[in-house]
Symmetry: C2
Subunit: 175 residues, 2 copies
């Protein structure tokens, strides 16, 4: 694995488990198995490293949510949690830690969430026979967001609950 990839991967892991600010550069260099000089050559700064991590996270998230049904969307979330654990949305956590005060991070969060909402609108449209239904899409988005948050303290079963609720709402909209 190439150096920068290894760095971003180690950083994502530590940021996710212990938080962004709580993770110092010494922990990062140690986990990535490289000197701080190499780390700074590749990342530039801690803030830049955070944005790299978020970009990588977004890429992987989009890849995993290439689905065309609400069932599959929540299935993808279940799979995500099974593989990566449930510590809440890393984008919202980054936003929360910085109070939305760092533009680079705030932008990354908004872009990620906008793309999620668009994806859900796409799926909802497919499910309801091509109809444009932004309100229903927002409800599914809220279930997705809520399942991610609730899974932190209630475990992966909350995703099943959300999936069932989403199915009911879709069914209701078809009638």
């Amino acid at each position: 694995m190439d150096t920068k990839t290894k760095l971003i991967s180690a950083a994502e892991h530590l940021f996710d488990r212990h938080g962004f600010t709580a993770t110092g550069m010494d922990k990062l260099t140690q986990a990535a198995g490289m000197s701080s000089r190499t780390l700074y050559k590749h990342a530039g700064s801690k803030m830049a490293l955070i944005t790299y991590v978020l970009a990588e996270r977004h890429r992987r998230f989009q890849q995993r949510t290439e689905v065309d049904s609400v069932e599959a969307l929540f299935g993808a979330l279940e799979e995500w949690v099974r593989v990566e654990g449930c510590r809440g949305c890393l984008f919202l956590r980054a936003h929360g830690e910085t109070g939305g005060d760092i533009p680079k991070i705030a932008d990354a969060v908004l872009a990620h969430k906008a793309s999620l909402y668009e994806k859900i609108q796409e799926i909802v449209s497919l499910e309801t026979g091509g109809k444009h239904n932004p309100e229903l899409a927002e409800q599914i988005l809220i279930l997705f967001e809520g399942a991610t948050a609730a899974a932190v303290y209630r475990g992966a079963e909350s995703i099943t609950s959300a999936r069932i609720a989403a199915s009911v709402l879709i069914q209701q909209a078809r009638a």
Copy 2:
């Protein structure tokens, strides 16, 4: 207002707007209008101050959610966001910043969420004619959690969406 109350109130405001770690003791003393010596006499430490803030937050949250219908529950959330803004659940944010590594904080989060879930179970039971329905309660919890999270980037309207979705689920369960 007494000194400790003023301190906790100022601390809650700063923690909520800028995050826990990002808020230094100098900002806290300045905002609370007191010397660091007085702050430490009343709070003991920053970590203790955080738990005081969470306790006060929990008290106010419970007071505001003394309701007996799902409609009123989401109405209370709308009111909360209107008055206090929408920067996400402060408990989950505290949990996220510390990675769940600090027991005092992790416990406060779990207790707060457990009490929220119990409250929702109560309301759901009232709404469905005394029936015990933990699955439905979890779905409402997820909508509540999701609305709180989504409001960070989509504004207060997401709470309306969640309220409507919750009504549909309740209606469905009554049939």
